[in-house]
Amino acid sequence: MNNTITFLALFPFIGALLAFVLGKQQAKLAFWTAEGVSALLFLATLWLAYQYSTPISIDHTWLTFGTRSLPFGFYVDGLSIVMLLIATGLGFLDIHFAHDYMAEDKDQARYYAKVLFFIGGMILLVMAKDMIGLFVGWEFMGLASYLLISFWHSQKAPSDAGMQAFLYTRFGDMFIFAAIGLLLYFVGTLNLVEINTLAQAGGIDHSVAFIIALFIFIGAIGKSGQFPLFPWLMNAMEGPTTVSALIHGATMVNAGIYIVARLFDFYLSTEALLIVANIAAISAFIGATSALVQTEIKKVLAYSTMSHLALAFVGLGVGSLAAGMMHLVNHAVFKALLFLSAGAVILAAHHHKDLWQFGGLRGKLPFIAAFMAIGALSLSGIPPFSGFFSKDAVLTAALRNPETQGLIATLTTIAALLSIAYIGRVWLLLFSGEARDANLHQSIQRPSLFWIALPLLIMSVLTLMLGFYQSEIATFITGKTEASPHIDGLLTGLIIGLSILALIVVGLYAKDLTLVKKMAQHPFLSMLHQLLFHGYYVEAMINWFSQHAVVNGAAKASAWFDKRAIDASVNGFVPATQTAFNGLKTTQTGRIGDYIALMVAGLAVLLIVMMVGI
């Protein structure tokens, strides 16, 4: 068991190095290395899951300074194993898919090395026992995400998007770092398990615990693309679709939820959960409504990711670990499926992404249409697909909690229902009706069955199967028996709502698009459209704020101080060092007699000093 854990922690990085070195020799070798490494990682995780009975804990100290020490241990329980399965399993499928998707790229060595490095970061994160290991994994993933978003770094948009992602997530990371400092100083432990038990026993001062929980959550907001730090997630779609699927759909963005789930008992004991629920409900609403009007396939999926991660956060925020985690698991699978289906369409259409250029692809890409439909049905929450069960559980939990019954439950329900509208719109615009761009339609190529359709098929089957094992997986994660909660009438209400929305979407988008175009002319609706299209102008507001308050205000002030005080003193220091250098240089006469004289004279002085001491 311990060997498996060590293997999981180290092998991705060795694999990344191998993929890079071998890939530089021959491009194809990079793919095969990555495929082999990720397959082994997945098998190791399966072995771990098969052997698992009780939480495994490995203690290791990084370094000790007096009474303070920095631990670097591993802790693997049900939650970790489920996250590991997601990271390595979807990682493997994603790498398999990339065989065709990245086939034309010249720099495959770099691509696969980075992806494996990313998987390594995710594995470190979910196996970490302490905040240190968790933070290391967290930052590794942040770095990998930056490197992969700006993978096509010679173009402006991807490199800008990478930078933006780095800055937004970095903003959150600062708070995690601060939280580590607070934990070390006030709580005295960085051990995640101990933090939970201490908090439950009331061993942490209430206000300190609240601040720490809040800081960690700000980091989670950044990583998981929640309000208001979500704009980076939308621009991250500039990266390769395989990257969006793995990192910005299925795994890394889950890290924020994971960290709250890992510290769930700690969060329960503070009042921070309500804040989590509030932010999440707002994010769910913003994401779902903005997704309605996006014109790029991947942007719709990005807003939908934001919205669905928010649903998982709501699940945690209203106090149900099982509901939140189950939605995370289900979402990871069906969102990877949706992203990769979109990737298959984009690949077939030679990297065109605008929804309005497509239409009538049903005949050309029947498999992709079917797989994407399964993903869409699961996302919409139609039984018996997995998404239905967890969404239902989240809503039930939100409605049952007296503190969140009102606004939070309403916003969440709206967001949950709207899923069918935006994903239905995407599917209809892609696959039904007439081809809107005849040339593009002509040039569509059928993708490979083995490299493209097979991973999608596996994910579709998983999406269907997950629905039947919800309570078992929930029990595995939480370690307690989890029965699906139930509220009378909720199901009927949801089904009715979904049906109405489905009818509206079909009416608007299935055949005749004239009504949609007419609606776009309406002044009020077009204003609303603009607002939603730009994600409620949150990005513009953040830019405005950083431009005026940070760049023109604080940055200018510190630049002035830097120039007048720090630079000036450094510049003043240079002549002083030069004088010292020239003066000291004369002591280096090069004559051996001088040196020995200096030695003996020094000896006399030192002896006197010593004797004074004695």
């Binding site: 290791h60 100290t61 990084w62 370094l63 000790t64 300074f65 007096g66 020490s69 060092t577 030069q578 010292a580 250098f581 000291l584 240089k585 002591t587 280096q588 090069g590 051996i592 001088d594 040196y595 020995i596 200096l598 030695m599 003996v600 004279a601 020094g602 000896l603 002085v605 030192l606 002896l607 000093v609 010593m610 004797m611 004074v612 001491g613 004695i614």
Partner: protein, 440 residues
Amino acid sequence: MSPFALVFGTALLSPLISHTRWLKGLSLLILAIAGFNLSLGEGIGLTYFAQTDAIRFFEGIILIVAAAIVLHFDHDDHGTLTQLLLIVAASMALLESSTLLSFVITFEAMSIISFVLVSNIKDSKQAEGAIKLFFTGATATGIILFGLALFTLSGHSIDTALGNDYDAFSLIALSLIFIGILYKLTIFPMHAWAADSYAQVSHSNAAILSALMKTVVAVATFHLFSPVLAQLSMPSIYGLATLAVITMTLGNMLALYQRNIARMLAYSSIAHAGYMLIPFAAIASQFAHIGLLYLAVAYLFMQTAVFLILARLYQDDGIETLADLKGLAQRNPLYALLFSVQLLSLAGIPLLAGFMSKAVAFYAGVDAGLWLFVLIALLNSALSVGYYAWIIKQLYFDAPTKDRPLVSRLGFVLGELILVAGTLYFGVVAIDVFKVIGGN
């Protein structure tokens, strides 16, 4: 068989095959076997010698670094390999010395081998460096023997371990010996020879002198003298700490505007001797042991690596000054990368051994209440980035003056990879050094 006997025996027999191709491989094999025996816990096993976990750990590091140096040589250059093996054997003996007698004898043995090492003179510059090493070494020997004589006169025997209850007279005698040893550590005011010798003898010899011998002397001296140091009163401790900061400031200031790389590195070596003296002064702290050991381990990897790179660059391309280094990254990216990592480590950039070792040593200083001296050391450390970064700037950001590409040599690269692995490993995994001292 004890590692000492293995290496020493091989060194004595090596002249027989010094003109064949086998010596390099044999040396590596013997170092590997010695390392294996060492890991079984074998020491010298003679009277007056004793081994502790820390010493055994450091001896292991020495064997690794010696292997890297062996890999660096293309062929046996007039018995250099023999002398290297002798120095490794003498180092082990010096480190394990548990009495003044064995310490002084092995210390002298090491000095004499170092004279022989630099006696392979090819030009007048090297001759000057060798002569300076010899004369200052002889003077220091005189001082040490004088101290030893005084110590005997004070009625103490020199073949027992040092204790901690000495009268003033014998403390003066011990101080004399200690000060005589400080010359090897290039502590002010006994530093001047080092700047000339390190820069003038051949660079691979400078690697052995400035890295291997200096760290061995530091660790062995600390090991033997720590009971005596603990007996020193505060003014003497402040005296030592003052020497430390003077030495490092002097070294850094003189390195700052040097144009000759070897001379810059020689002064940087003097500066590092200053850092190494901090744990000596911080003897009151429980972290002094580990601080010194960590500094020695890190410094051994970094300093050996930079001087060997310089030796290779000088031999293959005649590079001597900063201007010659311009654009090396374009001519041989691997060399430039290896060089830069070690320079960054010397400068004390985090996640490299140089940073962690300084952090632990300085922590010991603060723990012992020498925070003012540690503050000066920190400022020095910041100052030193000035010239290390300057070298890296030449490597990467300047246009090359020659366009002939530089071919990588396999043996040398392997040796450098060993050294860079050490720098990275001890930059990240600090706990291994802590475990050696025990307690944690």
